[in-house]
Each structure stands twice: as structure tokens, then as C-alpha cells.
């Protein structure tokens, strides 16, 4: 998979390396800005309020 992706990148190896690093950085940004914040309320670390549903992702009663 990664060998195949490497072959799809254009140019000599330094250019390919740069392109690969940029692609990796884009993936990290997408994860940190959209994916992880979406995932966070579905995990149990951030439930700190008392409310009638017992869940932080549900509308808070209190």
C-alpha cells in the first residue's frame, strides 16, 4: 500500500519525500481538527456534569 503510494508520487526522491511529509501533515490536521473532536464526546473522559441523561453528548438538563 505505502510502496504503491510512494510510486505514485512524482519526481526524484527528495521531492517524493517532501510530498509524503506534506500528505502526512494534512492527515494529522484533519484528524486533530475534525476527527478527534468528533470522537472525544463519545469517550468517557469528558463527562463531568450531573444531568438527567448521564451523558455529555446529550442535551444538558442542568
Amino acid at each position: 500500500m505505502y510502496a504503491w503510494m510512494w510510486r505514485q508520487l512524482p519526481g526524484p526522491w527528495p521531492i517524493r519525500l517532501l510530498a509524503a511529509l506534506v500528505l502526512f501533515a494534512v492527515v494529522v490536521v484533519v484528524l486533530f481538527v475534525w476527527v478527534f473532536p468528533w470522537l472525544e464526546p463519545r469517550l468517557p473522559f469528558v463527562d463531568v456534569t450531573v444531568d438527567e441523561t448521564g451523558s455529555a453528548s446529550a442535551p444538558l438538563q442542568w
Binding site: 500500500m1 505505502y2 494529522v28 484528524l31 486533530f32 478527534f36 470522537l39 472525544e40 464526546p41 469517550l43 468517557p44 473522559f45 469528558v46 463527562d47 463531568v48 456534569t49 450531573v50 444531568d51 438527567e52 441523561t53 448521564g54 451523558s55 455529555a56 444538558l60 438538563q61 442542568w62
Partner: protein, 224 residues
């Protein structure tokens, strides 16, 4: 194409996917344990700085900019047991966005110093985790709320561990929906155990004293 070749392609791809999953999980750990704290600490520090700037500009009040909008920081909380320099802003509302900027005030509850039960929630782990070590509080400890004009010193009188649905801890009279409040209380809620949330750690406190800002810091904070 031999079957040995396609077997190698499949195992290699599965292996690469597993390594990728491992890297994503590590990134998530970094996000949750480091990045949410970096962002939340930055937001909280900015709220605290803005509040103190505003308070020193208008020392005679008003105590609060009413109406307090969702997301507004309107006071700060000092907990000497957690350090002489422990200060965290109190933000209106208890959504995750609010709690990522300080501790959150349950908007249905009264304001600091008022008769009733001023109630706040804070993270025990991640997102700034202001209440990470709240379990170190003991009965008799001071929890001090600072507003534009006033220091309110509350003293812990009860520690509880309750179910997440037990909303009566933030009632004006805790545990009694119909009672008429006669005391100024403050309740702190956070998750329990730390790193999980199948219970809530609750501290009930009672207003012990209040003093205007002009008469200096309360004795519990003299060292700061």
C-alpha cells in the same frame, strides 16, 4: 500471478493497515492528553487575564456584566489546597465548549454569594483538567471565588460520590427540590473516577465569609 505473490500482497497490506491504526491511536492519545490541555490552558489563561484587566479598569463594579451570556467568563476560582497560584476562570454554561475554557457554571443556578446553590463543573482529565486533583480537597478547605468587586470564601462541608444522573446535588437546597434556600452554597462537580465517568465527584461548600476587593486578599491567599 502466483498465489504466493497475492498472499504476500495481502499480508503486507493488512500489516500496513494495522501499523496505520496504531499510529492513529497514538496521535489520538497525543491529542487527548496534550493538545486539548494546551488549547484549554491557553483559553483559560486568556479569560483570566481579560477578567483581571477589566476588573482593574473598573474596580467599583458592576460586579457582573449582566446578562451573563453563555460562554462569558465572569469570575475566577481559587483553591489554596491545589496550590497558592491555582486560579481558573468560571465560564457561563456547562457545554463541552464552555468546559474547555475553564470551569463551567450551571446556568440555572445562582451567582456567587447569592442565597441558593452556585454550582460549577470542571474537567477531571483532559481539556485543561482544572479539577484533576479535586479529590485532595478536605472538609473545611476553602474554595474562593473572585469577582470584579468581591472575594467569596466558601468552606467544604461535604464530599459525595454520586450517579451521573443525580441532579439534585445542584438544587438550591441539595437533595430537596421543593425546599426554600436559606444559605449561600456552592457545589463543585467533576467526573469520577479520573479517566472514566461512571460516577460524579461532588463537593458541597458553604459561604463562610465575603470581603470587598478593596480590603485586600483573603487570608487563605495571602501567600500568593
Amino acid at each position: 500471478m502466483s498465489s504466493g505473490h497475492s498472499f504476500r500482497v495481502i499480508t503486507r497490506t493488512v500489516g500496513e493497515l494495522l501499523v496505520t491504526a496504531g499510529v492513529i491511536l497514538l496521535l489520538f492519545v497525543g491529542y487527548q492528553l496534550v493538545w486539548t490541555n494546551v488549547q484549554a490552558d491557553r483559553a483559560a489563561a486568556e479569560h483570566t487575564r481579560n477578567l483581571h484587566d477589566q476588573w482593574s479598569a473598573t474596580p467599583d463594579g458592576p460586579e457582573f456584566d449582566v446578562p451573563i451570556q453563555n460562554g462569558d467568563a465572569f469570575a475566577t476560582m481559587h483553591i489554596p489546597r491545589l496550590g497558592q497560584n491555582f486560579e481558573v476562570p468560571i465560564v457561563q454554561g456547562v457545554s463541552l465548549a464552555n468546559l474547555a475554557q475553564g470551569v463551567g457554571h450551571y446556568p440555572e443556578t445562582v451567582l456567587p454569594g447569592e442565597i441558593g446553590n452556585f454550582s460549577v463543573a470542571g474537567h477531571r482529565a483532559t481539556n485543561g483538567e482544572p479539577f484533576a486533583y479535586l479529590d485532595q480537597l478536605r472538609v473545611g478547605d476553602s474554595v474562593i471565588v473572585e469577582t470584579a468587586t468581591t472575594w467569596y470564601t466558601y468552606k467544604v462541608y461535604e464530599e459525595l460520590i454520586v450517579a451521573p444522573t443525580q441532579v439534585d446535588v445542584v438544587y438550591a437546597v441539595p437533595g430537596d427540590a421543593n425546599a426554600q434556600p436559606e444559605e449561600a452554597l456552592m457545589t463543585l462537580t467533576t467526573c469520577n473516577p479520573r479517566w472514566d465517568s461512571y460516577e460524579r465527584l461532588i463537593f458541597h461548600t458553604r459561604l463562610a465569609s465575603e470581603q470587598p476587593k478593596s480590603s485586600g486578599r483573603p487570608p487563605e491567599l495571602q501567600g500568593a
